[in-house]
């Protein structure tokens, strides 16, 4: 006998104990994220919910906590999104369509794809430096809505490109063949069959990317978005405030009341993001299994 049955028997119980212990440890790791989320949301709600008054939404920011509100910040963020979204969609979906449907399989295409993967890893603060140098100064756009939108569009482009490419790839070859086999041209096949079939995946990617852009603060700081402004923009060339900038500004204030305002502004921001995430998840689940 090479194996001693007694030894195996003896070792079994510690092995099983180790197994159960490790399982608990893995479960604990999983729960850490959960606990943090609960604590984060809990403390924020506790600190902030009393400050979610009508005045809070209708007042501009102020150095006096009792008068400070997020009107400028919210409207500014909406302006920012109104320009970032179409620019980002135009850039990203166009790029994804080219790479998936038209690009020849050569070194240049490979280079473009690697380049996009690398752009996805560039810190947002570096995109801020790009925006500051090129859009704010070189193009003379100043700290305007359009300068910030261009910067954020470039920043979230890689995310949407990759999500769109994945969505386009899920459209089966058989469906493409069916269209081409009927005498449809390349663009007819792309625009009438492939794009509509991939659109739920693309929209999910867009929503998630835009929700990332909404909360992004560092590039806005770098391109010099003001924290105290008593007007709302009336054109994309105007300066503006943004919700995350407002939070960043308030959290640095020494007065305790500003901490509550910070929390209140965070509640508004998170509510906005959760709503967008929720929509994205619904779209994804609804269309996840179609082929």
């Amino acid at each position: 006998m090479l194996l001693d049955a007694n030894v195996i028997e003896k070792k079994r119980s510690p092995r099983l104990m180790k197994n159960s212990f490790m399982k608990m440890l893995f479960l604990f790791s999983t729960l850490i994220g959960l606990v943090v989320l609960v604590v984060l949301l809990g403390t924020t709600l506790l600190d902030g919910w009393k400050y979610l008054t009508v005045d809070f939404f209708t007042n501009f920011s102020s150095s006096r906590p009792s008068r400070a509100g997020i009107k400028g910040a919210i409207l500014g963020t909406l302006w920012l999104m109104a320009f970032t979204t179409p620019i980002a969609i135009f850039l990203s979906v166009g790029t994804a369509l080219y790479l998936e449907e038209y690009a020849p399989k050569n070194k240049f295409t490979k280079f473009v794809e690697t380049n996009i993967a690398n752009l996805a890893g560039v810190p947002s603060v570096v995109f801020g430096l790009l925006g500051l140098t090129i859009f704010v100064r070189q193009f003379g756009l100043g700290n305007s809505v359009i300068a910030a939108s261009l910067t954020l569009s470039l920043m979230i482009m890689p995310v949407i490109v990759v999500a769109s490419q994945e969505a386009l790839r899920t459209v089966p070859l058989a469906v493409r063949e069916a269209s081409i086999g009927m005498g449809a041209s390349k663009w007819q096949t792309v625009s009438r069959i492939i794009l509509p079939a991939a659109i739920p995946g693309i929209i999910t990617g867009i929503i998630l990317a835009i929700s990332r852009a909404i909360g992004e603060t560092a590039p806005l700081v770098v391109i010099g978005i003001p924290v105290a402004l008593l007007t709302t923009p009336s054109s994309p060339l105007d300066s503006f405030q943004a919700l995350p900038m407002q939070i960043y500004n308030w959290v640095k204030m020494p007065q305790a009341e500003f901490q509550n305002l910070t929390a209140a502004a965070i509640i508004v921001l998170l509510a906005l993001l959760l709503m967008m995430n929720f929509v994205a998840i619904i779209i994804r689940n609804k269309y996840s299994k179609r082929f």
Partner: protein, 305 residues
Amino acid sequence: MVDLNIRERIANNQRSKLVEKTVPIVLFSITIISVLTTIGILYTLIVETVHFFGRVSIVEFLTSTKWNAFSSTPSWGIFPLILGTLKIVVIGAIVAVPTGIGAAIYLSEYASDRTRRIIKPILEVLAGIPTVVYGAFAITFVTPFLQSFIPPLNHFNALSPGIVVGIMILPMIASLTEDALSSVPNSMREGSLGMGATKFETVSKVVLPAAISGVGAAVVLGLSRAIGETMIVSIAAGSTPNSSFNILESLQTMTGFIVQVTSGDAAFGTDVYYSLYAVGMTLFIFTLAMNMISQWITKRFREEY
């Protein structure tokens, strides 16, 4: 049935060749913008960094251990800023790597389908929380909480933002690791379990080694994200370039410096203004290197099942 003359109508249909020819050109031009973005970033960083080194010695930048940009006799040693970044990254990694991998193992190997369906969206929500919110959480909750255990902890310190950065990158590491684990074919698990191995033995001796390149790439990407993280450290770590290894003291990271300069009024054309780009360049090199390492790991150690 009426004769619809479909054949005739189709034959008479004039197809426009114009659209077919322009669409690829338009899409290609759009694609070029992504390349231009990279060129723009490199151009911006390189040109202004060269400007900076025209004013400040590159030797000082690389060798001095003091960074004091706003003094009347400034010193420009990048070391404290890099050290600040590394302190945050190391603390973040200690938090995020074991928990991220542990959570991924739980989700991929132990959790029921139902648990997975509940927990994964929660992790996605966690991943979607803006960093400025994490920053606020660090300074208003985590720092006071830690101070109750560690009284000498400063208001601004490395520990609190480091932990929070770890929590921020946790979902990313967990989700990428889980992808790597679930791509290990079930036949390998069955092979091990079928010999009487426990689940943990199967995970640690078969599944994890098989997925190691994916796990490695996930960790490196997570750390790269931590290096570039800006708002948490700007809010909770302070703005004191610090060359000591003490994690209880205020510090400044590379990203923190960029935010400090740009949120104040650094006059265009001053040394401080140009130093932004030298710091940005250093930061860019660090993250680019990490991303390339991650891509290299994925390529080099790609498992063939």
